[in-house]
Symmetry: C2
Subunit: 237 residues, 2 copies
DNA sequence: GAGTGGTCTAGACCACTCA
DNA sequence: GAGTGGTCTAGACCACTCC
């Protein structure tokens, strides 16, 4: 059952994306939207808040809700999208190569990141992502084995997230990320097509489940020429 | 006049930061918080939503609001902070060098980004940011001259944002950013301490005012070893 | 002053977790 | 079944913009 305010959000968002409202236009007032959707004002406001959070509109007290220009920057499929989803969206020929898959005790750094004990077990998966026949991304995942008891090469070649969500019923809820640049190391040079490159863009993520348990620590190493990140930041008044 | 829900948010956030609630603890239930703060449930929920958005808690239906570990990644002073604020927070010795300050007609790229006509005028400011006596960041700003009629070297050496907010009464509201990596160019080599480096991290931003007008386009070029970005992403259910 | 969004309330019902 | 958060409502008052 999808909530009413979410349906309203989707409907208005689609109208904006289809160009029914142009950038700079104001949306109908909240009371008009109440009538149109047969909803209370707070429900309309929840829908509009989603539009604000996703950078589709901007609200001004006393004036109205202004439609923003979606194309000014191509947009946030921010945050939690998996490699498979992204590469499919870009319509590129992509492939995942599994180099290493095993169960081991976490070292000090990993056990600290995942909040696990030295005698616990984690899955370590090392994968290369190939796009248009170039090895671009090196993913090193560390996954809490209590949450994902079994893991096969086939699953890792397809999508671990898909497996966790569809087969295990684990819901990924939020992630913290950190982005910075390092010098290439031997592992990068062994697994990626980085001749002539010096640096690598590192994205470290901590992935949490719906119940706020820490499930996974990932270090994703991107060849700098193919890395791109978009962000949308609002200031709180 | 600060809203009630915002005050409640601040109060709970401080209690979390001071350690009154430990990571993993659950906050008092919404109805208990209603009593404590003499507020309705929707008001409490607005405050809790701010905590969720800032990564301080995570809510689980049927269970409660769980306090997250703030220190797992050091935290988002995400998005809209100015160089001056950041360098002050880090307690570093910093300096800004203005190389270029002038009024000119936008070229095709800038006029497209800022939505201006070729005959309009923009301020172009080129500045180097020096931290601990190393030239680390090259900032190239393009500012709509209709919004900021006058600009001096002194203002640019201090903080343009401060000038716009305090002197001109312009309110910065939100920004869209794009991050990627480029090869060093001659300008980088001329203005930054980048001997031995090959790449530069580019952060392009479009900065919008309170009334959704586009005020500024900035290209901020960071020496890769000093660049760091943190992000917190939630998934919508 | 009319119209807009921002805040706050009291109450209702639902979905979920856990014992 | 008791307790939790999630949704929705109808109505009130306030702050702001624009004429």
């Amino acid at each position: 059952m999808v909530s009413k305010f979410y349906q309203i959000y989707i409907e208005i968002a689609e109208e904006i994306q289809k160009g029914h409202f142009q950038p700079g236009d104001t949306l109908p007032s909240e009371s008009e939207l109440c009538e149109r959707f047969a909803a209370s004002r707070e429900t309309i406001r929840k829908a509009l808040n989603l539009l604000v959070q996703n950078g589709l509109i901007h609200k001004i007290q006393g004036k109205g809700s202004i439609v923003l220009d979606i194309n000014k920057f191509n947009f946030p499929f921010g945050g939690l999208v998996s490699f498979k989803e992204v590469s499919q969206k870009m319509g590129r020929k992509s492939r995942t190569i599994v180099h290493d898959l095993g169960l081991l005790h976490p070292n000090a750094y990993i056990s600290k990141q995942l909040g696990m004990k030295p005698k616990d077990y984690v899955w370590k998966v090392t994968r290369t992502r190939e796009i248009n026949e170039e090895k671009i991304i090196l993913d090193k995942d560390y996954i809490n084995s209590k949450l994902v008891p079994a893991l096969t090469k086939e699953i890792c070649e397809n999508s671990i997230y898909e497996y966790m969500e569809n087969e295990l019923g684990l819901k990924i809820s939020f992630a913290k990320k950190e982005i910075y640049v390092e010098d290439l190391n031997d592992e990068d040079r062994a697994f990626l097509d980085v001749e002539g490159f010096v640096n690598i863009v590192v994205v470290k993520s901590l992935v949490y489940l719906d119940d706020a348990t820490l499930m996974q620590y990932t270090e994703s190493r991107h060849r700098p020429d193919k890395f791109r990140f978009t962000d949308f930041a609002r200031r709180h008044n």
